[in-house]
Amino acid sequence: MRMDKVRPWLTSLYPRLWRDRYAAEFDVLLEQCLQSPLDVVDVFLGAVDAHLQLLNGENLGWRMMNMLNKLRTTILMVFAAFIGFIVAGFSLVGLADDSPMIPLMKTNPALSAAWTTIQIGAFVALLAVVIGGLPLALTVVRRALAGDRHGRRLLLVPVFSFLALVLYLGFVFLVATGRIQIPGVVRVVQPGNFPPGNRLMLEGLMLVFILGAIASTMAVWKAISATDIEQETFYAVGRSLTVKIYKFAFVPAVITTLAMLVMLVATITWGWLSFSSLPQVFAGNFGPWGTSTQAWFFGILVLMVVCAMAALFGLRRGLPARTKQNLPNQ
C-alpha cells in the first residue's frame, strides 16, 4: 500500500471542524509514522470516533477554536486589504500630483470635497488599524521576544522593508539635492522630459515599496496566524488590562472596511468629476513614467474594489464568530 497516497485521503475522513484544528500537525505525524495497514485502520477508527464526538455534541472546543481561527482570518484579511488600499492610495496621489487636476481642485468644490473625503477616509482607516491592531501587535512582539525565534525572524521582515524604503528615499534625496550625481539622472524633472535614469530610479522606488508591502503583509500574516492566544493581559502604570485581542480588533476592522468603501466611492466620484472637467487629462499620459492616465486610474480602482471586496468577505466570514462569547484560552 502506498502510504503517501493514502495519507491525504485518511485526513479527509475527519470532520471539517476537527481538520481546521488538527489537520496540519496530524499530517506531519502521518508523514512520520504511517507505516502499516494497522496504522491505517487506527486512523480510520479515529476519524469515526471524531464524527461520533460531533454527533454527541462533544468537543465544543473544536468549534470554539474554529471560531477563533475565523475571527483571526477576518482581522488578517481586513489588514491585508488595508495594505492593498495604501498602495492604491499612493498610486492615486502619484497620479494627481503635478497634474492639472490639482489646480482644478482649488476651483471645483465638489472635486475638492471628494479628495478631502478620500483623505479623511484614509486617516480614519489608519487610526482604526492602529487602535485595533495595537494589542495584537504587542502580543505578537511579546511572544517573539519571549523566545519564539521563528516569530522574531518574521517580525524582522517589516522592519527591514521599512529600512530599505528609508535608505532608498535617502538615496533619492541625495540625488535630488545634487549631493550625489549619477550620469543620465537629472536633479529636477521637467514636464515632457523624463530621462531613462530618473525613470529607473522611480521604478526602483515603487518596486521597493510594493515588494516591501507584500513581504511585510505576508510575514505579519504568518506571525499572527501562529499566535494561538485569544486574550492577553497588559500591564501599565500599576494596572493590568486583559484584552480579547481578536474580538477587540473586530470593531476597528468594521470601521476600516467602511472607510475603505467610502474612499472607493469618493475615488470614483473624484475620477468622474475630473473626467467631466478635464477629459483631455484622462486621455493624456499623466500616469507614472508618462503612462496613460486612464489605465492607471482604472488600475487603482480595480485594486481598491478587490481590496474592499476582500475586507467585506472577511467580515462576513468572521461575523458569526464575533457573536460567540467566551472563546477558550489556549
Binding site: Y22, F26, V28, L29, C33, D39, G46, A47, H150
Partner: protein
C-alpha cells in the same frame, strides 16, 4: 473528571499525560516516548483522539507550532489529575502486593 470520561481512549490519555510529565512534546515524540516507556505503540488515530479530548478537558495545552509540528504541555489541572491518579494507583499497587504477600 475521571479516566472513564476519555472513553476508549482512557489508557492512551494516561500514557500521554505521563509522557508530557517529562516535558513538552509533539505527537511523534509522544509516540516514541510512550513506546520506550511502556512498550505500547499508540496509533496516530488513537493518539490524536486522546489528545483532542485532553485538550478540550483542559488537561493539556497546545504550544505555538514549531514549523508544522505542534508541541503540547501539561496544564496545572492535568498535572494535578495525573498526580492524584498515580497516588491512588500507588496505594492500589501497595495494597495488592501486601495481599499477595510480596
Amino acid at each position: 473528571m475521571d479516566t472513564s470520561d476519555f472513553g476508549r481512549f482512557s489508557d492512551p490519555a494516561l500514557l500521554i499525560l505521563a509522557s508530557l510529565a517529562g516535558g513538552e512534546k509533539h505527537g511523534y515524540a509522544m509516540m516514541e516516548d510512550i513506546e520506550a516507556m511502556t512498550g505500547v505503540h499508540l496509533g496516530p488515530g488513537t493518539l490524536y483522539g486522546a489528545l483532542s479530548r485532553l485538550e478540550q478537558s483542559g488537561m493539556i495545552q497546545a504550544l505555538p507550532a514549531d514549523e508544522r509540528r505542534r508541541p503540547y504541555q501539561l496544564t496545572t489541572r492535568g498535572t494535578a489529575f495525573l498526580r492524584q491518579y498515580l497516588a491512588s494507583l500507588k496505594k492500589f499497587v501497595y495494597m495488592g502486593l501486601m495481599r499477595l504477600g510480596a
